[in-house]
Symmetry: C2
Subunit: 326 residues, 2 copies
């Protein structure tokens, strides 16, 4: 090794780069496809005993951060929590990740994301489902946690066709009772009218076939409902289990964990019954921490899967250790 070649080598790199660039045609196809930019497909598999769970990401939506986002916290405290998580403080970036549950007999989809109705920062869901090997025609059950637009819109395209034509659709009984009630719609504030209309767009054409579920019901073997009302009137979470292996599909028990796992008493603007949502949140955080449950959160950062740890008087979110080999 010649020590005084140091500068020459650094300078010489430009020439080396120019002469070793290969034409694209000489590259393997996989490299050529991926070469320009972009992340890998955003899905992540988890084994729960003999059940395969796949987290499938749709993207994110950003909204300007103002005092309305957390109904019972000071804006400065919310900004401080975001800064502590190394996230922007002038906006809230909310990710969306749905869940596929493949049992020996069934391919179940829990929630359907924004589908064709999201902002440009979302909309990767169909592509990510395909990359994960989930064919829409093979989904035989769609389970809905609650009727907010980011959980139901993708069930039906802009042209009115079903995105999962061979799937039964099951929904929380209390959710259906609230949102499909025309009296509730007529009494609701203007800001909620679009939500009621979207529920009718999605479920109207299949209203006679939609099946309700209630607390404790086993939807298919290994997938059980747990009522978690408050965020919405029928908001539900789901326990996937096979033997002693368990995964809790958290739905919107918390929105961003950086805010609402750390501060369970904070009520997001989306929590329709803020007090009840916070009580449910505390109950499920306590259960997840005590039982060391793996938790799949709809609004957790991708891969949107992790554990809940006690942290003093509060809780902390611990993202899953990425398993590249299953």
């Amino acid at each position: 090794m010649i020590l005084d070649r140091r500068q020459a080598i650094t300078t010489g790199l430009v020439a080396t780069a120019a002469t070793t660039l290969l034409p694209a045609a000489a590259m393997p196809v996989s490299a050529r496809d991926a070469a320009t930019s972009g992340q890998p497909p955003a899905y992540y598999r988890i084994k729960v005993g003999g059940i395969e769970v796949i987290r499938v990401h749709d993207g994110v939506a950003a909204r300007p951060l103002d005092a309305s986002f957390v109904k019972n916290a000071e804006l400065a405290d919310v900004q401080a929590a975001l800064a502590a998580a190394f996230q922007p403080t002038d906006k809230v970036v909310i990710p969306f990740t749905t869940t596929v549950v493949r049992t020996p007999q069934h391919t179940v989809l829990i929630d359907t994301s924004l589908g064709e109705f999201g902002p440009p920062t979302a909309g990767a869901w169909a592509k990510n489902l395909a990359a994960a090997g989930v064919a829409a025609a093979k989904v035989d059950l769609v389970v809905i946690s609650h009727f907010h637009g980011d959980h139901i819109s993708g069930l039906r395209g802009k042209d009115g066709t079903s995105a999962f034509p061979n799937a039964k659709v099951m929904v929380p009984e209390a959710e259906w009772a609230f949102w499909m009630d025309d009296g509730q719609m007529s009494r609701a504030p203007e800001a909620m009218q679009a939500g009621f209309q979207n529920v009718r767009r999605v479920f109207g054409p299949i209203a006679a076939e939609v099946a309700p579920f209630t607390d404790g019901q086993e939807l298919v073997p290994g997938l059980r409902v747990m009522a978690a009302h408050g965020h919405t009137p029928g908001h539900s979470v789901f326990l996937v289990s096979d033997g002693s292996d368990q995964l809790l599909v958290w739905s919107d028990t918390t929105n961003k964990p950086e805010l609402f796992v750390k501060n369970p008493g904070w009520q997001a603007v989306f929590d329709m019954d803020g007090e009840r949502a916070a009580a449910t949140r505390l109950r499920l955080l306590d259960m997840a921490a005590a039982d060391r449950l793996l938790v799949a959160g709809y609004h957790f950062p991708f891969p949107a899967t992790g554990h809940i740890a006690r942290d003093g008087d509060s809780y902390a979110y611990v993202p899953v250790f990425w398993q590249a080999n299953l």
Copy 2:
């Protein structure tokens, strides 16, 4: 919606699944390829101004956990730290993630992983490089942080050929001086002999061309060396910067953050000069936290990128918020 259809629908799902399974030939190619199992390719892109950084994962290695792993901590405390991170306590699972830095003129690879020399739980590196669009022939500079086997072995295949035939190789001057010294090798304990031999296997054939670097040196525009000695005699980290955007390539300043970010004074069995490694670790943790630097850690969980936050008298690792859209 007919409420009393609930049981019939649940029961009926088995029949529905059987009739809606499509033959594989009817599925799109992308779905067919991915359908059976497996995770997406494990790479992750980061923009540092106009520089593209790609974290490329190789896999993990597990070693039984015993009292030797942390030289100056009680085994029970190490086990407790792993349990707090929801990781196994009977073994230590160590991930490996290398770094590609693409500047307008150069494709630089920092460290070369285990290559063909890893356990079955590793070895995905070449596949992940290709998936990320990094052709081996286009790498024009390989930079080595230090000479431990998991950082250099992949530079050369089992057949002796270079994995990056068009690349210059640059290494820490102090690292070269130590490991290439036959006197050091002769005085080293038996457990280190394989390491010395591996250094000779990797660098012997190119000894005359390898270029040394020292603290503060700019290797290519936007990539600067920072000496971080202690883990090994010449262990180095690297600052990637473009304008005000920065990323610190952390190398082995810490091994697993669950242990050594939280407990910077703990000395891993791999820290050759334990006291000096701990002092360097504290200095860089303090710098990363104070400057809110994005940090790429070789042994962080994939995507192996995040921030360092002060946490009482210690520090915490905050994984990056996954950006699916660049």
